[in-house]
Symmetry: D2
Subunit: 348 residues, 4 copies
């Protein structure tokens, strides 16, 4: 059977190289084009020696028409704002698109605009689907544009959505999300804060209560659970390449048996391939998910029964970006959802 | 002037080597003896090549009488339980003691016993002083046994105590402490979880809500602020050698101006050498305190004014252990408090 | 088609978990048993959470008869000496064996015994085949016991063997091998030197000129090239989990054109899947091979033309251990050699 | 006694912050000005939070006249080429200068120009002194411009110089220097190769046989030993912030007793504060020198007595840059050489 042709626009960042890594092992699609304005003509293997002998393409320029001619589905891995028009043009050209920026993640245009910038394609935004398959699977196969979820939101929405439905907290109570991410989350661009000597042997909070992923979490949690949530999101920068571990604190308004928690989590994810519910007493660790598409979830009930803590771990480049994007692609193309995604975590 | 003689019992762990590092640069004391059961007769420089030419002693056996004869003040850096009797014997021998274990930190014997084991020296426990100079300075000069605070408690009590006094939270509200520590906090003993390949590229929570430092925090916060506090302490293991960063979340019960927070912190620490209050907009980072005795404190008010987040950073081996122990020693010996402790942080 | 049953004896170390990771993705074999004396009855996923949902076995005891009944081919991942008899018993039971210890790597029994201990199965040693497929492929399919090469020797023999055949150096000239390995090479046992705080932020040479892999290299280089080689091997410990980078220095006795070097390398490896020859000007890096079965090779000719430097990079747990073992298994079982081994390197 | 006023031009890099760290603890000098074109007006503590409360200056612009008015001795920590004129102007203004670039390190102007660019101040270059005190101490007190040695050259010249004088190698034999440096050696500028995700979990050679520090080593080794040396220098990039470990391989042309090696090393450095000669059987490690001004030296004689391996470890930012610069300053100002430099290494 002929393979389906796919392309990656903006492939020279960490999300780009990760998409290429995953797609290289996918049996039903063929990577036909990758682009990078900065590296036009450069063989992929020169920039990313991990892909030598594996991806034999060279980077093309970001010309949408050319790319559209080469692929049936396109991944856009551009910075937000830059993606708006590129996605729209691909859509006009009749291509399916998985957009890895924030530009097509929001349902509420004004919310998007208050955290990012004006959205020049509001109709397409309204049509786009939020690509978190475990919660919104039914919408994805027919979608033509999927907004691939943010890395932090994936790590927070998955554990939290089924718990919110239990009505364990007062509506005016704030859920605390203390999240920690590896350095690849900041991308491959040249920022002083991304230098080895600034990240190594270091750890720090940043944008406490003021990160753009906070409104994304709140909006999608409302869609998934029907509950309006107050949530305070505080990210921290970890000295590791990959991984997000989120510690989520819920002050409880009523007595809850752990069986009720288990039931909610198993009800939601018992049949999900990419969510692993840890047994009681086990908590997630980053290296259990590194390089894989898993989201590991564990929880602890405080001894006074007044607080529940949810923990999740994902690889920010896989389930938090490229892996989830391929999962969405599989659904959009009618391919079995886990195809190309069963790579085992690399530990140690 | 003759230097005061000091010794370290249990000097072959990370706290021990750090005590030797700091004492080597102290102009008014002389390190006369260090002990290690496991390494009797071995030159310190052989075990710790960083101390070559600097500490010329060899490890002695842990014989209290011999050590007592060689020193006026003794640091005990033994595991908890083992320290109880050693401290008592040194005390009987008329020596001043700074104990770095948990054995002399608690005022409430039963609380200690519920988290550790029976305490066989209850009278000495009652007499011992909790050595957190910034909050309990007046008690330390006359103390004969100082219980040196735990690393996590130091990082939590310092930022939190002055804020608690503001009565910003309901008495039944839980304060969340999400703390992250480097691997030296687990000591130099052979545990699978301390292997390089288990810690590197990894990150994980442990003992969530169930760590022995939680009751220590609560007891001392009550002594410092007069408030009974509900506090949920969740430690995590960071892939760095040194450092604790604590993120402390307070759900507020009333409107608070940031000026009130500033005032409380400056009132408490404006004149303290080893507490640095960061300007608005700055948050602590681990590498700003590495190798130094500083505790850096910053804070953020959530945009809805319903939550306050305090952040602190210390080097767990310095302000969290050996540095604070020397600070206590200085106070006990009538030496200027900052003597030997002004080493600048090593960054990068 | 029914899958071939395989087992791993001694599966609780880093080589063991890596074998399980790779075998889990292998389409033609089924992992039927894994053993660990220390963890009998423990589910694999409990010890190695990266394998949750992937390996559903629990560890069995190391009873050879039981294991032999469950598998057609067995990997032995035991410490040297312990492997001698276990391999022999499996062999008696008619099983094919890939032994990952040093016990079946040497042709010269006395050489083995001078670096290890007496070998109690000399006949089986004589029969065993050194499993470096790129150089000794023809011997492997019919082998019943394969001695899987050491990690350092793999990284040194592959680049060096074809170059030795060019007769570029005097017979009494010493080749310098300055090699650097990640911490997983020391295994998962409890040694002080393997603690996070001892390896992190550190780097050091060890066993300079005195490492057991040196005679293995020399013996196999002689078999591969027909040349007796003087070689000085100096390993160093890198603060990374995985990877070996070897820098190999050859003082040249005659003028050599780079074309001659290229020709030798391409002649040897131009058709090899798992050896990647880097283009002129490119040098290997560890992260280009992490998690993969590749050996990347590059070289530099010194400007005075008197020295040639070869560089190689492998993942010590994959091409240096478990990956190569599976490559050998494939050859022994008549499966296409690269089956299950095409995992792309994980970078970053 | 009034302190001597010193300034740092180009203080916003890693060498700059390290100079400030060391000078802050120096009892006889006062840091009066620091400059950075990019950060004029910014408080030092804002850019480098490790220096909060310690360095209370703000960055000034790089105006030489202004700086000259504020200081008696100036450290120039500018990129090479940029330093040439700045040093010359400071010199004209009658200031003593320690230059940390390569611009005043070479005796042979043509050699400098063949590796860098034209030197526009050849007379001052001829006058400048190479500031490696252990070998050229007598020249430094009267120097008005000191060229502070490169980091790699310091790590290589110190162990090698006294050994060369023994005439152990043929004149046409190549000495191999396989050196490994932490990432701070590449500075604080924005290069893709300096990003955390490019350095972490990675290791690689670079500029093999083609690094600018090679001619510097050869020139100074000739000055120190009187021997012309063939030397092949191959640097590698380590995933640590600080430290250089050099492994130096000498093919021997005659029988050498280890006593002869010891004698040469002890003869050269037995009385040196900042060179530590390790006992037989001990090899240097990076973390034994981190943050300190030590150079640790060890050696191994190959079992066939045909090769000698020297190992050295330094902190590239201290003995390899800022510490050595302060050591030179002390000599130039008539201050005891070790003043301000006795900080103990930070390990772990």
């Amino acid at each position: 059977m002929a393979k389906i042709r796919v392309a990656v626009i903006g492939a020279s960042g960490y999300t780009g190289v990760e998409l290429m890594r995953i797609l290289a092992g996918h049996p039903e699609v063929e990577l036909t084009a990758v682009t990078s304005r900065q590296h036009v003509g450069v063989p992929v293997a020169e920039l990313f020696p991990s892909l030598r002998d594996i991806v034999k393409l060279s980077f093309m320029d970001n010309r949408v028409t050319e790319i559209a001619a080469l692929a049936d589905l396109v991944f856009t891995a551009l910075p937000h704002k830059a993606a708006i028009e590129v996605v729209a043009k691909l859509h006009e050209a009749g291509k399916k698109v998985v957009d890895l920026s924030a530009d097509y993640r929001f349902s509420d245009q004004k919310l998007y605009e208050s955290w990012y910038q004006p959205h020049t394609e509001p109709e397409l935004l309204a049509e786009a689907v939020y690509g978190l398959p475990e919660l919104f699977r039914s919408e994805i196969p027919s979608a033509r544009v999927v907004g691939n979820p943010g890395c932090y939101p994936t790590s927070v929405i998955l554990p939290l959505a089924p718990i919110l439905s239990l009505d364990l907290i007062e509506s005016d109570t704030t859920i605390i999300v203390d999240a920690k991410s590896g350095a690849s989350g900041a991308g491959r661009s040249l920022n002083l804060g991304s230098l080895y000597c600034e990240v190594s042997d270091n750890f720090k909070p940043y944008k406490a209560g003021n990160h753009r992923h906070q409104p994304e979490m709140i909006e999608q949690l409302k869609r998934a659970s029907g509950r309006v949530t107050k949530l305070l999101f505080v990210p921290h920068l970890l000295p590791v390449n990959r991984g997000i571990l989120s510690s989520i604190y819920l002050p409880l308004s009523r007595d809850v048996a752990t069986a009720e928690i288990e039931e909610a989590l198993y009800g939601a994810y018992g049949n999900e391939t990419f969510v692993r519910l840890l047994p009681a007493g086990s908590l997630p660790t980053l290296n259990a998910v590194r390089g894989s598409n898993y989201c590991d979830i564990g929880y602890v009930m405080a001894s006074d029964q007044r607080s529940l803590i949810l923990f999740s771990a994902i690889d920010n480049l896989v389930k938090g970006a490229a892996g989830q994007a391929v999962q969405n692609m599989n659904l959009m193309l009618g391919i079995a959802e886990e195809t190309g995604l069963m790579t085992v975590s690399l530990a140690p």
